[in-house]
Structure formats: structure tokens, C-alpha cells
């Protein structure tokens, strides 16, 4: 899979490149700012680019250039997979990334690169059109919705499952992570969806998006 990397810190850029290449990805180009990223995308679009990994904060203003570049890329190619990395996560930013309503979006804390396996899984999931939301974002959303809300009627276990669903994990991932059987996971999800009033017919990425939309509403 061919990806672009935008990260202004030289050491991190080199490290990220090394990491994804050792996991079998091809880094088409690694740049240090948002403008160069868009230029690289245009330059390599013909030969095919499968996704981009970008840092939120880059020159010149060091605020949210990466986020805006990600949105711009998805404007140019709807559903273009972007994995946005940040030193801290903000559910507002997650909302802007998800606002297009389609998958292929990831938003993770930079710290997550420490767990190489999880990080690479997340990147693959995003490139496949899935979603990868940082647990921190989900925690922010859940704590914001912890008022008088159907979410309060969830059991602790159901809340765990809900968090993992919202992060974009598949049933298999969830069953592995929580040491549950596949049918157990399915049953939990069915309960959660009926308690929250969501349609159980949604599956896959649509299920994730529905969950995130619910949490953000």
C-alpha cells in the first residue's frame, strides 16, 4: 500500500517512514508541511496513492494545518483515507474529520505509534475505508454525554464494547481485546444499539459512523 507522510519533526518523520516500511507499506513521499503534502498528492495521484498519515500541527502557524490538509485531500478525493496524528486529541477535530459522513478516517494520539501492531492495524483499517478513533476521543465524547442519557443505562461491559465499536474495531478485534466470544460481542452490540435506539441493521463501517454520530450528537 502506497502512502504519503507529513510530519514536521525530522526524527519522527524518519521514524514513521521506517516503521511503516518495515510493516510492508510503501512511502511515496514524506514531507514536512501541509502545502508540500498537497503538492505530493497531486504529483503522485496518477500512479495511485492509498492514503496519508499527517501531523495536525505543522508550519507555518503550528495550529491545525494537518487537519485542514486532511479535509482538503478528502475534498479533492472524497473518502481519501487520512490518518491524523496529534500530540493531544480534541473531539471537535474528530467531528470535523467525520463530518463528511464517509469512512477512511483515523484520528490518533501520537503516543499510539508505540504499540506498533495496533498502530499498523489502525492504518490498514483506515486505508480499507474504516475508522480509527483514539480511545481518548471516545472517552471525551462519552464523558460529555454522561448526563441524563440512555448511555447511563449501559452496563460497564456494554460501555467498554461501545467504546471499542466507536474506535472502529471489528467484532473479531473486540472479542480478542475483551476476551469474549464472537456471539457474546454480537449480543452486547445488539443490546447497546437497542438501548440507544440505533438501527441494528447497520454493519461494518456504517455501524462505527452511526455510533460516532450518536455520541457526537
Amino acid at each position: 500500500m502506497r502512502i504519503l507522510i507529513a510530519e514536521d519533526d525530522a526524527l519522527l518523520r524518519a521514524g514513521l517512514t521506517l516503521l511503516v516500511e518495515s510493516e510492508g507499506f510503501t512511502v511515496v513521499q514524506a514531507v514536512d508541511n501541509a502545502d508540500d503534502l498537497l503538492a505530493a498528492y497531486d504529483a503522485h495521484r496518477e500512479e495511485g496513492v492509498d492514503g496519508a498519515v499527517l501531523d495536525v500541527r505543522m508550519p507555518p502557524t503550528f495550529t491545525n494545518e494537518g487537519l485542514r490538509a486532511a479535509l482538503e485531500l478528502r475534498e479533492r478525493q472524497p473518502g481519501f483515507p487520512v490518518l491524523v496524528l496529534s500530540a493531544h486529541v480534541e473531539d471537535q477535530y474528530a467531528g470535523r474529520l467525520l463530518s463528511g459522513g464517509s469512512g477512511g478516517v483515523g484520528y490518533l494520539l501520537k503516543d499510539r505509534v508505540g504499540d506498533v501492531g495496533q498502530f499498523v492495524d489502525a492504518l490498514r483499517r483506515v486505508i480499507d475505508g474504516g475508522t480509527a478513533m483514539d480511545p481518548e476521543v471516545i472517552a471525551q465524547l462519552l464523558s460529555r454525554r454522561s448526563g441524563n442519557d440512555p448511555i447511563r443505562s449501559l452496563t460497564p461491559r456494554e460501555r467498554e464494547v461501545l467504546s471499542l465499536v466507536a474506535e472502529g474495531k471489528s467484532n473479531a478485534d473486540i472479542s480478542r481485546e475483551l476476551v469474549l466470544s464472537d456471539t457474546g460481542v454480537s449480543k452486547h452490540i445488539g443490546n447497546i444499539f437497542s438501548k440507544l435506539g440505533l438501527s441494528t441493521s447497520d454493519s461494518g463501517h456504517r455501524r462505527v459512523l452511526a455510533t460516532l454520530t450518536y455520541l457526537r450528537s
Binding site: L12, G15, L19, A87, D111, V113, G114
Partner: protein, 416 residues
């Protein structure tokens, strides 16, 4: 043998000199009053509210002189400095005060001053001249207060002179001080106006302090984010990759561990710098003088330091001075091309606009480089220095002609 003048007489001499000067400057104020009456309406007609400014300038200069003279006399009264430049507008409060003073000076002040000068001169003239009345021919007798044709009349003249003298003795100090106090009272802005201006200045400096504080927080956040935080991300990334390599039985994990260790080392030194920059511990322990010496000793250009006139100041001010110095030294090292830097830190007493003495901490950095430094507000070191100074109501003076040398001088009021 020296003759010492009695203080009472000396004081009256000074008061009389003041009155005489006020009387002598009458032609000028009368001429200006006439000029103002004639010129100002026309100038305003032609040039609008700022049309009469040349005339107003001259009035202001005259007012400044009168104010200074009055302030010297009325030493018991707290005085406020007048603005150095005349307000260009006719409607400005100071302009109105100047014109009001001009009217009084050309009329009442002049009349009183002249009267009292005459009252003081008359006794001398009368007592010295009257005894010589007999030298005058009979048909043109000596005439002072009245014609003197006999010793009785001469005696009466001397008596009258002594009476005038007694009157002058009492009236000269009283009148001169009344005039001086009135002059100050008319020309100076009322206390409320001074306070209002002070409030404006404080609001501005408070806003600057908040801005500087916010800028400082942003700077610290940037430094931590770009330094330690990113390095630590690298550390966990390298460790993660090493672990993955080891788990998969690969043997090439060592370079990754080495990189992780290097990145951790970088993170530590970045943290050390950031922590130091928040508040240099050396300031607390050793005070500004020694902290400055550790800065100058790190300079790559030979640097002298003079802290002989330095006293302790509030921690916030010392900290600001420390960073101003650090910034100025960095600037000099980066841009000046100098071969020598001289640094001086000292505490000075200055008089404020309110006439109170205040301590200021002065940071002075001179270099013999090629000069041409400008504070163009583009986020250079100088802008940072100016912002820090402004936060303490301080000033930055930059003298840097092309070709050098450069002097940066920052004054930080210590608030007492």
C-alpha cells in the same frame, strides 16, 4: 570677611525676583494675547481646529517657562510636569488652560507684580534720595511721593518709604506665592485628568502584561511540544519497533534501542532547557547579578559585565531583566558580528510624571558590531524584548546606526 544675608531677606529677594520676571515678561504675554485674539479666530476659520498651532506653540512655550518658574518658587506644592509639546488643537484641555493663563498673566499678574516691585523699590529710593532734597533748586524741587521743600517733608517721605517697605515685606512673599500657586493651578491638568491618564496607561500596560503572559505560555507550550513531547513519541516508537522486531525473532533490534536512547536523551535535555526558561533557578538562589554573569560567561563573543550599581528587585522584574539580557545577548551573538559586548545592570532612581521617585532596573547591552538593528515588530528578538519591557511599563531604547555600534537599553520600573 563674608557677609551672610539673613534667610528672611534672601527669601524675599527670590520672591521679588520672581515677581520682577513675571512683570518683565508682560510685553510678551500681552503681545501673544493680542495675537491670539486676532489670529486664532482667523486661523480656525482657515485651517480648522488645528489651524492656530504656531501661535499655540509660542503660548505653550511661554506657559512652560512660567510653570517652571512657579514650580521653583512654590516648592511646598506637588507639581505635575506639563506636556513638552503644545497640543495642536484649540479644543485640547491644555490649550484652553494655556489661554486662560495668558489672559490672567497679561492683566492681573502683571498689575500685581508691577505694583509690588514698585512697592519694594520705593523705600530704597525714598530713604536714599530724600536727605538730598536741598541740592535741588527752589523752582524745581525734588519730587518723590510729593514735592520736598523742607526737612519735615523729607522726613515724611522717608517715613512713607519705611511704610511701603513694611508693606512690601509682608505682601511680596504672600503675593508671589499666590501668583505661583495660581499659575500652577491653572496650567496643570486637574488631578482627575492626571488620574484618568494614569488609568489609561495602566490599562495599556496591564493588557501588555496579559499578552506577554499569554505569549510566554505559548512559547513554553511550543518548546515542550516540539522538544520533549516529540522526542518521547520517538522513544516509544523506537521501543515499539524494537519490541516487534524481537518478538518476531529478528536480531536487528539493537540500532532501534540505540535510537530510542538517543531520543530519550534529547527529550531530557529539551525538558531541562524548558524548565530553566520558565524560571531560572539561579535567579532565586544567587540573584540577578550572578545569574547575569552565568549568561555572559556563556557568550561566544568576549563579554564584560558591570553589576556594581545593582540592587535586588522584585522576582518578576529580575526575571524579566534576565530574559531581556538573554535575548539581547542572543541577538548580539547572532546578528551583530561584534568582537566585544559590554553589559551593565544597575538600579537607578528616576522621577516619574507624578513627581515621585521610582526605582528602575536598567539593562544595557552594547556591542561593537556593524549596527543597523531595527525593531520592525516582525517577531525578532527585539520585539520580544519590547514586549517584555512593556509588560512592566518599561522602555526599550535601541541605538543602532548602520556601521554600529549598537546599544540596547531597557528600563524596568521596580514598582516602588
Amino acid at each position: 570677611m563674608t557677609v551672610t544675608t539673613p534667610p528672611a531677606l534672601r527669601r524675599r529677594g527670590r520672591d521679588l525676583r520672581y515677581l520682577a520676571l513675571e512683570a518683565v515678561s508682560w510685553p510678551a504675554s500681552m503681545a501673544l494675547l493680542v495675537a491670539s485674539v486676532v489670529v486664532l479666530p482667523l486661523a480656525v476659520l482657515v485651517g480648522g481646529r488645528t489651524g492656530g498651532s504656531p501661535t499655540l506653540d509660542v503660548v505653550h512655550r511661554l506657559a512652560l517657562r512660567a510653570h517652571a518658574a512657579a514650580a521653583r518658587l512654590a516648592t511646598d506644592r506637588r507639581t505635575t510636569e506639563l506636556p513638552e509639546e503644545a497640543a495642536a488643537s484649540l479644543g485640547a484641555p491644555q490649550t484652553r488652560r494655556n489661554l486662560w493663563w495668558l489672559v490672567l498673566h497679561a492683566t492681573v499678574v502683571f498689575a500685581l507684580s508691577l505694583l509690588l516691585v514698585a512697592l519694594s523699590v520705593a523705600p530704597v529710593l525714598y530713604t536714599l534720595a530724600a536727605p538730598w532734597w536741598w541740592l535741588f533748586p527752589d523752582d524745581v524741587p525734588m519730587s518723590l511721593a510729593f514735592e520736598i521743600t523742607s526737612w519735615q517733608r523729607a522726613g515724611a517721605t522717608v517715613a512713607l518709604g519705611l511704610l511701603y517697605g513694611a508693606l512690601a515685606w509682608v505682601l511680596v512673599p504672600w503675593t508671589s506665592h499666590r501668583i505661583a500657586r495660581s499659575t500652577l493651578g491653572i496650567l496643570e491638568a486637574p488631578r482627575s485628568e492626571v488620574l484618568a491618564r494614569r488609568v489609561d496607561e495602566l490599562s495599556v500596560s496591564r493588557a501588555a502584561a496579559l499578552d506577554a503572559h499569554a505569549a510566554e505560555l505559548r512559547r513554553i507550550e511550543r518548546e515542550l511540544h516540539d522538544g520533549a513531547q516529540n522526542r518521547l513519541v520517538s522513544v516509544v516508537m523506537m521501543l515499539g519497533m524494537a519490541r516487534r522486531a524481537l518478538e518476531s525473532g529478528a536480531t536487528n533490534a539493537l540500532p532501534l534501542l540505540e535510537q530510542a536512547q538517543d531520543a530519550a536523551g534529547d527529550a531530557l535535555s529539551g525538558l531541562r532547557t524548558a524548565v530553566h526558561d520558565i524560571y531560572p533557578p539561579v535567579l532565586d538562589e544567587l540573584g540577578l547579578g550572578d545569574a547575569a554573569s552565568s549568561l555572559t560567561s556563556r557568550s561566544t563573543i568576549p563579554c564584560t559585565l558591570d553589576v556594581s550599581g545593582l540592587r535586588r528587585a522584585p522576582a518578576a522584574v529580575e526575571s524579566a531583566a534576565y530574559f531581556v539580557l538573554a535575548e539581547a545577548l542572543t541577538n548580539a551573538m547572532k546578528h551583530s558580528g561584534a568582537s566585544r559586548i559590554d553589559v551593565a545592570l544597575r538600579t537607578e532612581r528616576v522621577d516619574t510624571e507624578q513627581g515621585e521617585a521610582e526605582q528602575v532596573l536598567v539593562v544595557e547591552v552594547r556591542d561593537d558590531g556593524h549596527g543597523g538593528a531595527v525593531d520592525d515588530g516582525t517577531g525578532s528578538g527585539l520585539t520580544g524584548i519590547r514586549r517584555r519591557a512593556a509588560a512592566f511599563e518599561g522602555d526599550l531604547v535601541l541605538i543602532s546606526p548602520a556601521g554600529g555600534p549598537t546599544m540596547v537599553r531597557v528600563e524596568l520600573p521596580c514598582g516602588f
